[in-house]
């Protein structure tokens, strides 16, 4: 009797019904380019994390978060968590920095349309 101890990760959706696929191209927002650049900096230059860690962090997102976040929102969420785990900065430091950045903009709203997760 063969026993299957594996579970399908939410990201591991090959073979599942996908519904409609959005094939529309879109321009990258400035914050998305910044997230990409940040990731390159953290991996190639600073060696703070690996691409494999990025993927693990994305795979660990709860299903609802995984489905509702955009591509680069998943990235920045994983990068943030990985750097927190690694002790590059603390949650308090991150929170203080976010408040500081927010205060630069009228009513605390950042331009550019980053739907949360922008940096």
């Amino acid at each position: 009797m063969e026993r299957d101890f594996t579970a399908r990760g939410h990201h591991d959706m090959g073979g599942l019904d996908a519904g409609e696929i959005d094939r529309e191209e879109h321009d990258y927002a400035l914050w998305e380019k910044r997230v990409d650049a940040l990731m390159m900096l953290c991996t190639n230059r600073l060696k703070l994390m690996t691409v494999d860690q990025l993927r693990k962090g994305i795979e660990a997102l709860p299903p609802e978060a995984y489905d509702n976040m955009t591509y680069y929102e998943r990235w920045i969420s994983s990068v943030t968590n990985t750097l927190l785990e690694r002790g590059v900065f603390t949650a308090d430091e991150l929170g203080a920095k976010m408040e500081e950045v927010k205060a630069r903009y009228p009513d605390g709203v950042m331009p550019g349309g980053a739907a949360g997760g922008g940096c």
Binding site: E2, R3, D4, F5, T6, A7, R8, G9, D12, G14, G15, M49, T50, D52, Q53, R55, K56, E59, A60, R86
Partner: protein, 100 residues
């Protein structure tokens, strides 16, 4: 130093820890199925270890394994000869016939 060579029949492991938090590079839909080694791709640092910030050494052989589409998708109604190829690390493979 590789366990398998082109032409060998192999079977993909099923018994692995659940994911997440594990990081698994072998897609769910291929686990437990048998295929044929198409080529040896070389050796690479283990991404399932790198994902945890560990060195990922020693390097692990990676194979391109060929499966019959009909074996993968029970309701596949395309050409009998259609194949799918997937790159799979050695620690995910057994020789076909070995009991896992």
């Amino acid at each position: 130093m590789t366990r398998f060579a082109a032409g060998d029949r192999v079977r993909v492991h099923k018994q692995f820890p659940p994911t997440p938090p594990s990081h698994i590079r072998t897609p769910y839909y291929i686990r437990g199925l048998s295929g044929t080694v198409e080529r040896v791709c070389g050796a690479f640092r283990n991404p399932e270890e790198l994902a945890f910030g560990r060195p990922g050494t020693p390097e692990v052989p990676l194979y391109r394994v060929r499966f019959r589409q009909k074996d993968v998708w029970p309701d596949y109604d395309g050409n009998e000869a259609d194949k799918i190829e997937i790159e799979i690390f050695e620690f995910w493979l057994d020789a076909e016939g070995d009991e896992a």
